[in-house]
Amino acid sequence: MSQIENVSRRRFLKGVFGAGALVLAVRYIPPVLGQGQVTDGQTEADRATLHANLFVGIQRDGTVYIVAHRSEMGTVIRTSLPLVLADELDADWKRVKIDQAIGDRRYGDQNTDGSRSIRSFFDIMRECGAAGRWMLVQAAALQWNVPASECSTEPHAVVHKVTGRRLGYGELASEAAPLTVPKKEQLQLKKPSEWRYIGKGMASVDLEKLCTGKAMFGMDARVDGMVYASIEHPPVFGGKVKSLDDRETLKVAGVHQTVGIDAFKPPAAFQPLGGVAVIAENTWAAFQGRKKLKITWDNGPNESYDSVEYKKELRETAHKPGKLIRSVGDSDKAFPTTNVFEADYYVPLLAHAPMEPLVALAEFKDGKVTAWAPTQNPQAVQAIVSSELGIPKEDVICNVTLLGGGFGRKSKPDYVAEAAVLSKKLSRPVKVVWTREDDIKFDYYNAVAAMYLKAAVDEKGKPTAWLQRSVFPPITSIYDVSQVYGDPPHLAQGWTDLPYDLPNIRIENGPAQAHVRIGWLRSVANIYHAFGVQCFTDELAHRANRDPVEYLLDLIGPPRTLDFTNVQYPNYGADYKTYPWETGRLRQVIEMAAEKSGWAKKKSGKGHGFGFAAHRSFLTYVATVVEVEVSDDGEIHIPRVDTAIDAGLVVNPEVTRAQFEGAAVFGTSIVRSGEITAKNGVIQQSNFDDYPVARINEVPVQTNVYITESSAPPAGVGEPGVPPFVAAFCNAIFAATGKRVRDLPLASNSLFG
């Protein structure tokens, strides 16, 4: 088991195992809407007879309540993390009930992004489960008057094998409750061979509800007396209302009134965009009333933003010397001038388009806000609502519903802030419902990126010098408008950490000003970085007439740990000793994917091709083979995908496979059609007709996922499938057609036109 020591962790463990005051100090917190009775505000776990710690409580009837403090958007984290606790508690999973936590810093980090829920909380969940088991064992030993060391557990019971005695967890809850909570050193964690659930997994606790329409999403939240709001946002980022005529709007049946929302003060961060809200007695009336608004806008400084011009600018910047990010060998020396190959790659702005458009319900009452929201980050909801309304964070109760998809968009709670602002103005509960058009037009987009790569090669086609330069508007620009260079955490996403064993490497980044809000999208900067590096590598392999897999392995070189001494490499926020960058593990998944897909026997050409790519992101190593068939008129079919992964210890394998199947579909959308464009500062796309996402007839028919058996610390699984898929898909198109995809997406490419 890894021991990640950091300040926040230590503080957190004190909360878990330390004074009960942290738990007792909780204020009024209603349960997730409709999923329980109104209570004194604690979780069921808090209220249980035996409340071993923040994350678990056991009732006298044997019910075990486990708190899920991360948000459920389809990764089944609401099941997988509690499952870890249940294993160490030795609980019978059938008798476990899940409590969804509100936003509360007592749980530690709740921002469900970065594919890090398992790795950040695996140890904590184990320890919390083991602490509960320790108390139950002590209670039984006291009752039987035997040493605790003679007692053991089987699911949901403590047993004394010598005398054949047995007491259920429910029977022991009252006896165990007053016992001292154990210190971390006293805990006896199970050996991996003793795990019942970890590594085997369990289906989502929400599975049946999701198949019967009973699951509670943010879109389904309702409280008595609420009104509905639909908001007309400034069409250009940073714009303001100049004049408003709402007379026709107010004539629409069911419309109550309109309410202005102030434009944000830069930087935008998570503030509402501003605009005019139409308040109505149902969603439809609000939508209809909004169509009748007559607004003139002051568009502000981004009015001239044109994505065609912007692309040219990025490309020009990518051809000029940039800021040095990492250098190997004598990279300052003049680049060789013979046997040089160079290429430009481009990925446009991408929208998230989760199936559930943004929505939030908030009630401002007695100086406090209660919100119900499909949010990835309930503590950020507390922070932004607190600052927008001028109330303490503790007076913002954020209930987390299920999320109808998130992909990073729902980490940014501007939409929840809108509901809170409106509720305060109207003194009644307000549900803000974004349309699909709002969702597409007012996203925090994945950054548009231009990449320039250049290599000088030897007689075998292997690079002797390598230059790569990326240019993209950084996410940090939402917090500080002067930011134009990539920040270390996002440069580290597949750019700084080029894993190639080459004598001269120069990695640079150029400046780009943002004209829209930039955000995190499933695998983020890895999307464009892996696309550039893995496609360029494939191009070099073909130019050298070498097998792309053999060539890739040659560039990666021998198994070793990458050395980032004197390089800013944040490693996804993980300790580098615990999660080193090991080229041997990348090699292993490459070899595994090649073997499982039968790569060596594959013959590409004449409209049928196989593409390969490998990438490490979110601490997980992935290699992907994509098979395509391309018809004469350019129609692309994807019969099969083979993905090999090394994500360290995998808690829930079936769910993990599903994440990589889904990543292939997500990547398909990016390659085929993902593109947001702007003209005069206005986003040109609006719905699934002009921002198409992949449908059942366009996606890989069969995605095979091979999971490396590993006892290494757990890594991410939600995002890492996307980057290598995108590159491998494009490499497959080349193998089938001889045409290189350097500008995404295919839909805007003249390749097959």
């Binding site: 459920e72 958007m73 389809g74 990764t75 089944v76 289906a203 989502s204 929400d206 599975l207 049946e208 999701l210 198949c211 019967t212 329409g213 009973k214 999403f217 879109m219 309702r222 509905y228 049946a253 069911g254 149902n282 969603t283 439809w284 009336a285 939508f287 209809q288 388009a353 989760p354 199936m355 559930e356 458009p357 299920l402 109808g404 998809g405 998130g406 419902v433 699909r436 079936e654 769910v655 599903a658 199947e661 889904g662 990543a663 292939a664 579909v665 997500f666 398909t668 719905n687 699934f688 007709d689 996402v693 992949a694 449908r695 059942i696 007839n697 996606v699 028919v701 069969q702 995605t703």
Partner: protein
């Protein structure tokens, strides 16, 4: 006044006859299993049955639903899980699950008219239903699993 039957219950509605059935179901009847995804019949999240056929409730005005029998996801498993729902559960289809009510209603409609669809027929019937999480492979498998079991 629009009269219709929803999940076997007689209903009447005297609001805006242009209001889409989706919002009547969700906001007025509080049947929130049917989802809003696009408002333009592009994604299929709002799929319900009208007189047994899959329709997009987001573009079906109440006036067009008059006199019809509407069935939603809430009714599908009301008397025990439907064969499609059982198959969905067995294949672990949902990720976020938001689109799955629509996917399931669409699949039921497919298997009613074509009890043993080919891969191509499944794709044709399901291409109007988007799943952004990308559960399509399992949707296809679940439909095959339920094939022949839908009356």
């Amino acid at each position: 006044m629009v009269r219709l039957k929803v999940n076997g219950i007689d209903r009447s509605f005297d609001g805006d006859p242009n209001m889409p059935l989706l919002w009547y179901l969700r906001d007025i009847l509080e049947l929130t299993g049917t989802k809003f995804g696009c408002g333009m019949a592009l994604c299929g999240a709002c799929t319900v049955h009208k007189n047994g056929e899959a329709i997009r409730s987001c573009i079906t005005p109440m006036s067009a639903a008059a006199g019809s029998e509407i069935r939603t996801i809430e009714d599908l498993g009301a008397n025990g899980l439907h064969a499609i729902q059982k198959a969905w559960i067995e294949m672990n289809v949902p990720q976020c699950g938001y689109c799955q009510s629509g996917q399931i209603m669409q699949a039921v409609s497919l298997l009613k008219s074509n009890p043993h669809p080919t891969d191509q027929e499944i794709d044709d019937a399901m291409a109007g239903n988007i799943c952004r999480c990308g559960t399509y492979q399992r949707i296809r498998q679940a439909i095959k699993l339920a094939a022949g079991k839908v009356a």
